[in-house]
């Protein structure tokens, strides 16, 4: 790992820390700092972002390759003129990746291939202020081969049975590149006040 926040002890005349061997103490300090992060297991990479305006796409870019797994957590809503909409999540924004997943959508099960990861989210005709929670775990995102994933979501399109949807899907995205950014799109815009954060997990 990982991200370091303390100033490394360095050798050099005039540096008060130089009285001690950097090779001895720095590993100790690194260990202490890592230990603090391990207590939570997740590091917030992006901070929580709330959209101030409707957005055609949300892109989280520049994802450092220092983590072992990624977790995207968010609340989303679409401006599409319908009760619900599909939001697609592209790993690396690469439509060339081959997505292969098994989806459990209420009592229906299906296999999906070739499209980005999809999560059904509330749209313009859903009850006001109802955003859809989504949790996406991406494993081995540094791999240049296979990225297994697990996606969970809930959609409250209306107060009736047909439009309350729980989804769990899992599978893999295959491609020739590590995941350095994520792109989210839906049929229309992702609605303002949608919010999300990307976490890194170190073990």
């Amino acid at each position: 790992m990982s991200q370091l926040f303390f100033t490394n002890v360095q050798s050099g005349v005039g540096n008060p820390k130089a009285h001690f061997g950097q090779e001895v103490f720095n590993p100790v300090f690194v260990g202490l700092e890592q230990g603090a992060f391990y207590q939570s297991g997740y590091y917030n990479i992006s901070g929580w972002t709330t959209l101030g305006a409707d957005s055609g796409a949300v892109t989280i870019s520049g994802i450092s390759q220092i983590w072992r797994h990624l977790r995207l957590v968010g609340l989303f809503r679409s401006t599409q003129g319908a009760v619900v909409d599909n939001m697609f999540i592209w790993l690396g924004g690469a439509t060339s990746l081959y997505y292969n997943s098994f989806r459990w959508h209420n009592s229906a099960i299906s296999t999906i291939s070739g499209a980005g990861l999809s999560a059904r989210i509330a749209a313009n005709s859903a009850p006001a202020n109802h955003f859809s929670p989504v949790i996406l775990d991406i494993f081995n995102y540094q791999s240049t081969d296979v990225h297994p994933f697990l996606l969970r979501a809930y959609t409250h399109g209306s107060d009736t049975d047909a439009n309350m949807t729980a989804v769990m899907s899992w599978g893999s995205a295959r491609g020739a590149a590590a995941v350095s950014y994520l792109q989210l799109t839906c049929s229309s815009n992702i609605k303002s006040e949608s919010m999300y954060a990307l976490y890194g997990k170190d073990y």
Binding site: Q39, G41, Y43, L75, P133, I135, R152, Y154, A166, A197
Partner: protein
């Protein structure tokens, strides 16, 4: 910045100041970056049966909550339902849950739009289930600190009543607590029995 560690006292001229500088930097970084997911309560195991448990005084400083349970009911049956009441609310019109349950004999997708709590269905092993088998449950609550928005939740769980495939049930789902009040407490309880001795729980934060 705070100084929570015990500063070194000089033994040899200059050494304490050197180490304390680094310790202070480490402590400052921990406090500024405390980790995005962490415990609000300690992991607690019940020493006796409890009718319900209420976690109160929840700070509004976080983005979401995770209630993690390893739990069982005392009901004289194989399973019991689990109810979760934000702010101890029992208003039926506020409770919407979509439950999905699956084992080899049943695939069930049920909407519940009423009740005295957010109803996670028959997820708790009862007294007739195998001894010492507790249900692991993760319950995520979003927007809990908002005073203007409804609160969405999602959950995952598993129930092991006995070793037959038809009695090993996977659960997941979600829903909405329709109130716009900020959530400052979470109460959970079985629909019929009590929470059995040995059940355990903790509340976590997402920042």
């Amino acid at each position: 910045m705070a100084t929570l560690y015990t500063p070194l006292v000089d033994g040899v001229a200059g050494t304490a100041a050197i180490f304390n500088t680094v310790f202070q930097e480490l402590e400052d970084s921990f406090l500024a970056n405390p980790g995005a997911w962490g415990p609000i309560t300690t992991w607690t195991t019940l020493g006796s049966d409890q009718a319900s448990i209420t976690l109160s005084g929840i700070s509004g400083s976080y983005k979401a909550l995770l209630l993690r349970l390893l739990i069982r009911s005392t009901v004289a049956a194989t399973t019991d339902t689990l109810l979760i009441q934000p702010n101890a609310d029992t208003t039926s019109a506020n409770m919407y849950t979509r439950r999905v349950q699956w084992n080899t004999s049943t695939t069930l997708a049920v909407q519940t739009a009423s009740g005295s709590g957010l109803d996670l269905g028959s997820i708790l092993p009862g007294a007739s289930a195998l001894a010492d088998h507790f249900a692991p449950i993760d319950f995520f609550l979003f927007n809990y600190a908002s005073a203007s928005l409804p609160k969405q939740f999602m959950y995952d769980g598993y129930t092991h009543v006995d070793d037959a495939a038809a009695d090993m049930t996977r659960h997941f789902g979600g829903g909405v607590w329709k109130s716009t009040a900020a959530v400052t407490s979470l109460k959970f309880l079985p629909g019929t029995g009590s929470i059995a001795t040995g059940s355990s729980y903790a509340l976590y934060r997402l920042s």
